[in-house]
Symmetry: C2
Subunit: 396 residues, 2 copies
């Protein structure tokens, strides 16, 4: 952990803050947005390196203003304490932007409407699009943080074979992984953009529970323990012939890696081994293609082509229910840009950090396939979750 | 766990579903809303007993329609599969409501705008208000579920003195409580209405970390482990003279209790003991007043009066930073109606389930005070978190 100056609002280095602002302002210029009023925690964290209650006001040319409700006693250039959003108007005075960007894909309708009223003369644009694009291209500092999370994530996964005890359920194994993750420094919080996906600390899928369709937009399902949270482990005992797919939370510092590995109890069906190898082969093929300028949908097509050539299509990304993507950007949140899906319009760019997760569900065995998080450079990719990729066998 | 019919969308008993619909329709009538289109997971869970991707359409008189995107294969009266929200229009046909209620306090601006376009001729009302009021009055079934969570919650807390080991940090103790909670059946998910509060599995506050102001709207703060999630445990070692305030997740079945107890290592300052007793006394006094018809703000005033009479005001609900409420409704989410705050306009009603948390932060000692969850009946309250209330001393 870094020592934190509790009173200094801005926790980013000056150059880092400047670099991020430049990315944001490039998006503002492109969308003809003269100012942003940022309310979302993930975006405030991106801009300042901390979460606080309040708003960040970014104009194209003036200084950034941090309107703070809580915590008390934050200090620094541009810090203005407010009690309610309406207090913002007084500080801005006559500097009314011709268009104001609000995070329309994230903040509730009521909030957006209230904030828009502060700028009655201004056009409204969608800051969510601007922030998503800015955050899709990670800075060196962000990549360092994701790499750091990745190393801890790997360290936890390496311990999984030692956590398994004969007769365990999926949940009992998951709880031990949660514990080890937390002691390794995992913050627990699993940030997801939007309000319709929910997950607690990740997903351990054993045997046929991997084939339970889930309502959430994750790559894999699972029945869950209760219909109020229908995803993941359902209390199944781990039996010989089952695979155990582990896809657990990798948020160790505000930035996360996404990583999946497969463990097995005893021998599994040959087709499961083939499918697992197919996933590894897809990773190799896509890493070669994942260079700046490649359309994201071409990565999806390539994966599909490999899967079809091996006759594994019916098991790909689910069996009873299929997920519609094989990869996604990751950083502060688990579902960032670009999206690797058939109709994605995203183009791979230098600085993207992308989790690839070509997976399969094999009836009577379970889920197989791996997930790694990669950083895209101009001429290569770096795997930020470097760990053995083959199925790891548990003693029983 | 209950055996679940995986294919039946409706998991509530007929009478239970009917009762909840009646509460919702009473609110629709009062706000002149002819139909609701419900998108929020917590509200869909309230109406059906499960979470799914899609929408629930409730008109004042017609049958309820469940528009489902995922999971596959749900069945039952009124189930209609859709690919996108625009498909709803075809099913509704000419039955256009004169006003449509959308969850404007919860769903993103973009979502609300897209859904409103399906009803170009209809007025728009705020379904969040309707759902909040309906959910504030719990049914017997809901109270049973909360009571069940409460008993498990209590069982976990009773084990805390056995989990402590000499030299532990706040985080290390919290991780062991998390593990025991999970093995007891805690689902982990901590549902909070709105998008600005974040918390992972609850809060363990030791010593002066209790006095670290947090940006979130929780009763107590804590620095947290990282500025990306500035709340709760910060890695402090538990030292003699410290109090340990435990306020952990009580969601065992989709409904949760909220409960806080205090542990201490060795002797603590007399003023901390006085403040703790003051909290217990406030609970007793407010339980006597918490009858249907009492304005919530009178409960707050009473608590404040007791605190002032004991000269403890500067420590009440925080020291460096003060929280603005001493209690809140709880159920599917942690921040339900009514709110026990100075300017609350809520009136206590039969069926309310309310967490009261009059707490204090004593410099150099830590946080003291208890939190219980109560159910309000016509003539009495029931404590749903029955456990010893005095400070529990840890061996060292």
């Amino acid at each position: 952990m870094h020592p934190i100056d509790h009173n200094r609002l801005m926790l980013l280095e000056h150059d880092e803050h400047t670099r991020r602002l430049e990315q944001i302002r490039a998006g503002m210029t492109a969308s003809e947005t003269s100012a942003l009023l940022i309310a979302d925690n993930a975006n405030k964290y991106y801009i300042t390196g901390r979460v606080f209650a309040g708003y960040v006001y970014i104009s194209l040319e003036g200084p950034v203003i941090f309107f703070v409700r809580r915590p008390v006693k934050l200090e620094g250039d541009g810090v203005v304490y407010i009690r309610k959003p309406e207090d913002i108007v007084e500080t801005l005075g006559l500097n009314v932007p011709s268009s104001i960007g609000l995070e329309l894909d994230v903040i509730p309708y009521s909030t957006a409407t209230r904030l828009k009223k502060l700028f009655p003369e201004s056009d409204m644009t969608n800051a969510s699009v601007i922030m998503r694009q800015a955050r899709a291209v990670k800075t060196c500092r962000e990549i360092d943080l994701i790499r750091e999370s990745g190393l801890k994530h790997v360290r936890v996964y390496n311990r999984i074979p030692h956590l398994y005890q004969s007769g365990m359920t999926d949940l009992e194994l998951q709880v031990e992984i949660e514990r080890v993750s937390r002691l390794e420094g995992c913050l627990g919080q699993f940030r997801i953009c939007g309000d319709s996906m929910e997950l607690y600390m990740g997903n351990v899928l054993v045997g046929d529970n991997a084939d339970s369709p889930s309502p959430y937009d994750f790559a894999m399902g699972g029945e869950g323990l209760d219909p109020s949270l229908p995803v993941g482990a359902n209390g199944s005992e781990i039996r010989p012939g089952n695979t155990i797919m582990v896809d657990m939370n990798g948020n160790y510092n505000g930035y996360m890696t996404d990583m999946t590995r497969v463990y097995a109890l005893g021998k599994v069906q040959p087709i499961a081994l083939e499918a697992h190898q197919c996933s590894i082969d897809i990773h190799r093929a896509l890493c070669d293609m994942m260079i700046p300028g490649t359309p994201a949908k071409e990565l999806y097509s390539k994966a599909e082509e490999i899967v079809k050539s091996r006759g594994l299509h019916q098991y790909f990304m689910g069996h009873c229910q299929h997920a519609g993507f094989i990869g996604h950007g990751v950083g502060i949140e688990i579902n960032e840009t670009p999206v690797i899906a058939p109709r994605s319009r995203d183009i791979i760019a230098e600085g993207n950090v992308i989790a690839l997760e070509p997976k399969f569900v094999i009836p009577h065995t379970g889920a197989v396939g791996i997930e790694n998080t990669y950083c895209v450079y101009s001429d290569r990719v770096e795997c930020l979750t470097p760990a053995p990729e083959e199925i790891s066998y548990l003693d029983f």
